[in-house]
């Protein structure tokens, strides 16, 4: 094991090689995605596929890990900033960065071992989960929200592991038809959503822990589905009561393993 990974050797004698050969897709490289990229690079992840069409703006600098005022002034691409961050931590890491909406480059995600979704909308989450399940890829979703309650604010968020064949985000009640419909109705009127670096950091760190337990488990508590809720006011991360209620049930939204692969695969295209 390389010297730089010795302090995490409890993850197993092969853990550095497992992380080194792993391919992770990161969709969305804002407050959450940039934190994830930084931590995964430190962990030793060998292959990144980054997808985000956005550029760095002044308003991102409160939370975008690795971004500088110069990036904001030049409107650098977020995927270039994240790639630079990863390569500074580990120059041997292979990074494919595409400054497009993930739906336009979803082929890049098919070869991933795990996909992280750090997206803003329920619609994106819904479609990412469908894509991940189609290619038997575990999907880890993170997101945060700030709600005003009277004169105060509530900071909250979630980390969900959606495993092909197990409970999905609809089963868990996180994605609901009314939320998708309301979002579609309000499309374009959402404005800038509040985001803060410490909540992004807690959620990204928790997601990296879920990912690490999935690849190099350090305890026996394997669970195919994870739904952790973050309460930023109390400073707690707890397993959701919704997951406890659903644990014994089967997913009824994805028809088992029927909807797999390319709908129209042709041998000449491969």
């Amino acid at each position: 094991m390389k010297e730089r990974y010795k302090r995490q050797s409890f993850l197993g004698p092969e853990s550095d090689k497992i992380f080194g050969s792993c391919i992770a897709g990161l969709v969305g490289l804002g407050g959450g995605g940039s934190h994830l990229a930084q931590q995964l690079a430190h962990l030793g992840l060998g292959n990144f596929r980054l997808l985000d069409p956005d550029v760095v703006e002044e308003s991102n600098l409160n939370r975008l890990v690795g971004a500088t005022p110069e990036d904001a002034a030049k409107n650098s691409l977020k995927c270039d900033v994240t790639k630079r961050l990863i390569n500074k931590i580990n120059p041997r890491t292979r990074v494919e960065a595409v400054a497009k909406k993930w739906q336009e480059s979803h082929q890049l995600l098919r070869g991933c071992d795990v996909i992280f979704g750090c997206v803003d909308t329920y619609r994106d989450r819904y479609e990412l989960e469908i894509t991940a399940r189609r290619y038997l890829i575990p999907y880890i979703d993170i997101g945060m929200d700030v709600h005003s309650i009277g004169d105060e604010f509530s900071v909250s968020g979630q980390v969900i592991l959606s495993m092909p064949g197990a409970l999905c985000m609809r089963c868990l009640g996180f994605l609901r038809d009314e939320l998708l419909a309301k979002e579609a109705e309000d499309y374009g009127a959402a404005g800038d959503r509040p985001q803060v670096i410490w909540a992004n950091g807690v959620l990204a760190s928790t997601a990296v822990g879920v990912f690490t337990q999935l690849l190099t488990p350090w305890h026996a508590g394997h669970s195919p589905t994870v739904y952790l809720e973050y309460d930023g006011n109390l400073g707690t991360v707890k397993s959701s009561s919704r997951l406890e209620h659903m644990k014994a049930k089967k997913c009824r939204h994805f028809s088992g393993l029927k909807d797999l692969g390319d709908p129209f695969w042709a041998p000449d295209e491969s």
């Binding site: 050969s21 495993m163 064949g165 394997h222 195919p224 797999l260 390319d262 042709a266 041998p267 491969s270």
Partner: protein, 169 residues
């Protein structure tokens, strides 16, 4: 071109449970995995295991020179599954040892006979065979445009925990 093969931990568990059952006269059991396929540019394609189809007790032939010999009904039923469901078919059997398994000479001879038959019903798909050991897996994939079967280069068992069989860099 490279080929990856993915199967959920849950489905693999059912395959292993079935293959471990004793048979009235055959020394081992065999079956088929119906699979779908996806292109992964630029390097090749990924085979995604969908469902296990055990060979029925009555569809084995009495042949003590091999561990298990499928009769024509077994192959016919597998062909029907490929035709009706538009799926790739991968023959599966198990060797009872630990470590990296590989096909015996008889396995290679027999699979080379019947796997290409699946192109009669699904000519546009890949088909193949996988062999399991007690803790590992290997496989061959026949591509309709390739002159010879390709060795499956990567396996992923999808579940908690994940398991990969690939060259570790």
């Amino acid at each position: 071109m490279r080929v990856a093969f993915k199967i959920t931990r849950c489905l693999l568990g059912s395959v292993l449970n079935d293959l471990r059952r004793s048979h009235p006269f055959a020394a081992e059991r065999v079956g088929f995995l119906s699979c779908k396929v996806g292109g992964v540019k630029p390097w090749g394609w990924v085979v995604l295991a969908q469902e296990f189809h055990p060979v029925a007790d009555d569809d084995y032939l009495k042949d003590h020179s091999v561990g298990a010999m499928m009769g024509p009904a077994a192959v016919r039923k597998a062909l029907q599954i490929a035709l009706s469901n538009e799926v790739c078919m991968f023959h599966v059997h198990m060797h009872g040892h630990c470590g990296q398994p590989w096909f015996s000479g008889v396995d290679l001879r027999e699979t080379a006979k019947f796997v290409p038959d699946f192109w009669h019903v699904r000519p546009q798909l890949v088909h193949g065979a996988v062999v399991l050991s007690l803790d590992s897996i290997a496989g061959l994939c026949w591509h309709p445009r390739a002159p010879a079967p390709v060795r499956i280069s990567e396996f992923s068992i999808v579940g908690a925990p994940m398991w990969f069989l690939r060259e570790l860099k």
